[in-house]
Symmetry: C2
């Protein structure tokens, strides 16, 4: 158990406190190693549960996400640092999709003996994402086991929460970034080839779109989701939740180098955001976007009534990512 605790209410979110001393034992030595690696990113570790910082009255959101060796990645694909960074990025992406900023995280790891010696590098990767997000590590859990995994819990705050069910007919459908990299990288690895540097970087260096999610929320986005299951599958979640038809024009997709539209639609493990936003809000957002983010924001379609089978109907036939359907390589 790493469970931790953040200071007293007055100082919790601004000033890290010394961790509580722990008893001896190898498990606690490992926790001390992680604490040393994380430095002031880890806050006051050592209780059965962590105290959340008091917050500013904004709604709190929480999410949990697992990253498992041989399920979400293979060890040959990524450095230990990248494994840690990617796991944390995936979890933080769920906060981005709600329009939230990140506040604190808990890190539960299952550590086989073969991973013990690189655990410090994994911790550095985790820490890099926590630092970039402006968050703190407040607790977690350590277990032995046969398969390395990181299960991350993230807590954030969102002045305006954006959910999946608010898409309105007539809204524009927008997506951040450039698509298809992770799918291209995994496809190359599965074919025993070396992925392009671009595709590899998109898989190994995934970054949550926290600033973009907050900008979209502030601008009035009506529904939002990250496309970790692939754009097509995640568009179908928005359709189901909102009771609409997401009329996506595949020719408008922002494609990475060498990526075909059909591949971009099903490239899972991608942490861009898919959102719906009214045309008026989009116009207002455009000016602010360039200043707030270097990321592309691309209009790829429009929200129609669910009764319409529009120009993009074939999209509905394309399945995205499904953990219980595809081969184990990257489900």
């Amino acid at each position: 158990m790493i469970p931790a605790d953040t200071a007293s209410s007055e100082s919790a979110s601004s000033k890290p406190r010394a961790h509580q001393a722990m008893g001896s034992g190898h498990e606690f030595d490992t926790i001390r190693l992680l604490m040393a690696r994380w430095g002031d990113l880890a806050e006051d570790i050592g209780d059965d549960a962590a105290l959340l910082p008091p917050g500013d009255g904004s709604p709190r959101v929480v999410s949990t996400d697992a990253c498992i060796e041989a399920v979400h990645f293979r060890r040959a694909w990524l450095s230990p640092y990248e494994v840690g960074a990617r796991a944390m990025a995936a979890a933080l992406s769920d906060l981005a999709a709600m329009g939230a900023r990140a506040e604190c995280v808990l890190v539960a790891m299952v550590v086989p003996d073969a991973w013990r010696e690189v655990l410090g590098e994994v911790a550095d990767g985790i820490g890099s994402q926590v630092r970039a997000a402006g968050a703190r590590i407040v607790g977690g859990n350590l277990s032995r086991g046969d398969a390395f995994s990181i299960t991350t819990t993230v807590v954030g705050a969102a002045p305006r929460v954006v959910r999946r069910h608010g898409a309105q007919v007539g809204d524009l459908i927008v997506v951040t970034g450039v698509l298809g990299g992770p799918g291209a990288a995994v496809g190359a690895w599965d074919a025993q080839c070396k992925p392009s540097a671009w595709a590899r970087a998109r898989f190994a260096g995934a970054a949550p779109r926290l600033a973009e999610g907050q900008a979209l929320a502030a601008a009035g986005a009506t529904a939002m989701i990250d496309i970790s299951d692939g754009l097509a599958a995640d568009a179908r979640h928005l359709e189901a939740a909102s009771g609409v038809f997401m009329d996506i024009d595949a020719s408008r997709l922002p494609l990475g180098p060498g990526v075909a539209p059909a591949d971009a639609l099903v490239s899972g493990e991608e942490y861009e955001l898919l959102a719906t936003v009214s045309p008026i809000a989009y116009a207002a957002l455009q000016g602010r976007w360039a200043a707030a983010s270097p990321r592309l924001l691309t209009v790829i379609g429009v929200v129609r009534p669910s009764s319409v089978s529009g120009t993009a109907a074939p999209l509905r036939e394309l399945l995205g990512h499904d953990h219980f359907r595809e081969p184990a390589s990257n489900s």
Copy 2:
């Protein structure tokens, strides 16, 4: 991903909302199966992250805990229902140890094919503990993998948070319940014997001491911890955090049938609470305790200055549970 979301602020904690519709796919079919099993215990599942209920201004605490097949239990030991119940009990125990009540939980499961058909029973076990705790299931995560595991995140609220570092010289050391059952059960299984019905029930039917933790917190307990690592090891955590010596009289331990004091000291996976409380607060607590809880509360020692090596010094030599030290059977 099961991430979920609890209603709007006004109604979140009292009234469950319908879940958002999700797209098709086997993973989401599995989520729908879980939702059907949990009924109104699961609240408004379907976003990337879950919205926490607004709360009453009490400090919020959060903890994460993993329960892994072949690490924390063997499948032959427990029914699927018991696996689910025990995993959730272990996580909720961390809230009990802070003096918190449970509010909501997130359930991340790794599900090998061999566990698919009993997942509904696992869900029922999880649900039984969530219901008993008066909490709700607001999100989670589903992955395939080779080893079944449940990693639970629990969120609670504590009007008065009790941590590990507040034990004062002169405080009484108290423990809830009767000790040694889980250790006796695991010992029997490891020796290819059948545990006693009592020992088995203590392992398989573990229950978090939420009411007891809140009563101890309200009475002014100065430090508290659950004894999931074993009483001796967890006493050493309180010692280290508080800078004191926990002078425990092994002859006062509340022992289960056939349990020796030395075995009770190292029986891990036990979800009783170890707390320190001033003699005056203890006297005031005694009258209320019997009414509030059927559980024993036993004074087992007194807090001394760390410079003292008291009568119980040999306790310091007894190691408790250490995930990275002991054989895999029950680390």
